[in-house]
């Protein structure tokens, strides 16, 4: 195949094939995120209340009781604006085109929106750093491509820290596995005959489970710096930054999108340009966050 050149073929009697765009469209983990109670959605965002349990328990009480009020804390998750950048399409471009370019542009916007929201959501749910309720660990395995592999022992250690968090819904433990860590688990599974509770789906070849942890594979996961702190969304990865696998406890997540507005400027209304042009963009408000900073975690490859 010769190198591709800029431009598109516009040949009347042939139909140049539209080539596939190889991007990571996976966002299957988003199906487990929790939507908010519609009654809690306001103009500023979503409101949360939490009671602070100060109820004590006594055995053979030998003094009179004094009732105390139960206080609470409140939280607010703010809206974010989510947009695709506008694309213009001229009448001249569409003439003689074998495929419906305007329709194809719409599909690409939908794809980009999906990828953008996926990355936004993962970055919001990733723990900012290691803290109580949100364990962040580094891998300790053999060195490969400037990082250390994830070992079975690392995963067990991480799992042990999760079990101490009292995450009651055992069916809601999910982990978005980075591409490197997926390979590490496969390598580990292949290199031993010892017992391994890492389930690899025989039909699809996907790493799907580790005890109570349900895995979702994804090639795009957030980066962490050498100080094990989360890098901001959209930042340029540095030499010592590594991708992480992200653990999330679904009941502590909140994710909501308003209806996506399809912003379209029809070329039929463009009376000025010599080549009338249409414009297309997607726009909405949405939000995603941790309801509480508890029940999230990350496994980061250590730098070799």
């Amino acid at each position: 195949m010769p190198e591709l050149e800029n431009g598109l073929w516009a040949i009347q009697y042939l139909e140049p094939q539209l080539l596939e765009d190889f991007r990571n469209y996976r966002d299957d983990f988003m199906g487990v995120l929790k939507g908010p109670n519609p009654a809690a959605i306001g103009e500023d965002g979503i409101l949360f209340n939490k009671l602070i349990n100060n109820v004590d328990f006594k055995v053979n009480a030998n003094t009179d009781f004094t009732p105390v009020p139960m206080t609470g804390k409140k939280g607010l998750t703010l809206w974010d604006k989510l947009d695709t950048t506008p694309t213009l399409c001229t009448d001249k471009e569409l003439r003689g085109m074998a495929f419906d370019k305007e329709a194809a542009i719409r599909v690409e916007h939908t794809n980009t929106f999906k990828i953008g929201v996926r990355d936004y959501v993962l970055n919001k749910l990733a723990p900012s750093e290691n803290k109580a309720g949100m364990p962040v660990i580094r891998t300790t395995g053999a060195e490969v491509d400037g990082r250390k592999r994830l070992t079975y022992e690392d995963l067990l250690g991480f799992y042990n820290r999760l079990t101490k968090l009292n995450l009651n819904d055992k069916t809601a433990w999910h982990m978005v596995l980075s591409d490197d860590h997926r390979t590490d688990l496969m390598a580990d599974r292949a290199s031993t005959n010892h017992y391994r509770d890492v389930e690899i789906n025989r039909e699809t070849g996907e790493v799907s489970r580790f005890f109570k942890l349900r895995f979702f594979e994804n090639n795009d996961t957030p980066y962490y710096g050498a100080d094990s702190k989360l890098k901001s969304l959209g930042s340029t990865p540095g030499a010592n930054d590594q991708k992480a696998s992200i653990f999330l406890y679904a009941p502590n997540t909140v994710y909501h999108l308003e209806s996506v507005k399809v912003l379209y400027k029809d070329m039929m209304t463009d009376t000025r340009n010599k080549d009338p042009q249409s414009e297309f963009r997607l726009h909405t408000y949405g939000l995603c966050d941790k309801k509480q900073e508890h029940g999230f975690g990350a496994i980061i490859s250590a730098n070799a």
Binding site: W79, D80, S232, G234, S235, G238, S259, T284, Y285
Partner: protein
């Protein structure tokens, strides 16, 4: 003010990625090719104001001249009064 290492990183990155003319540097030391993402990375006060400044690092010539531009950001939250989303059922 960007450190020597940060300027060197920007210079190297821009040389390797000619489609970008500038990099934005936030107070945490993170680089961005897109100003919107860089602004989004700045922390906010309780009333929605952005805290901190972005620095704009250009190509070699401007870095050599010490021409490191600072970009002050004093924007309101996207959900400020003028930009509140309308719910679909309203």
């Amino acid at each position: 003010m960007a450190t020597k290492e940060q300027k060197a990183f920007a210079e190297d990155y821009l040389a390797k990625n000619p489609k970008y003319d500038v990099l934005y540097l936030n107070p945490k030391g993170e680089f961005f090719t897109d100003e919107s993402y860089a602004t989004n990375s700045l922390p906010r006060t309780k009333d929605g104001k952005l805290k901190g400044k972005l620095q704009k690092l250009g190509r070699l010539e401007s870095i050599d001249k010490g021409d490191v531009k600072s970009v002050d950001k004093e924007e309101k939250e996207p959900n400020s009064d003028s930009e509140k989303p309308k719910k679909e059922d309203e």
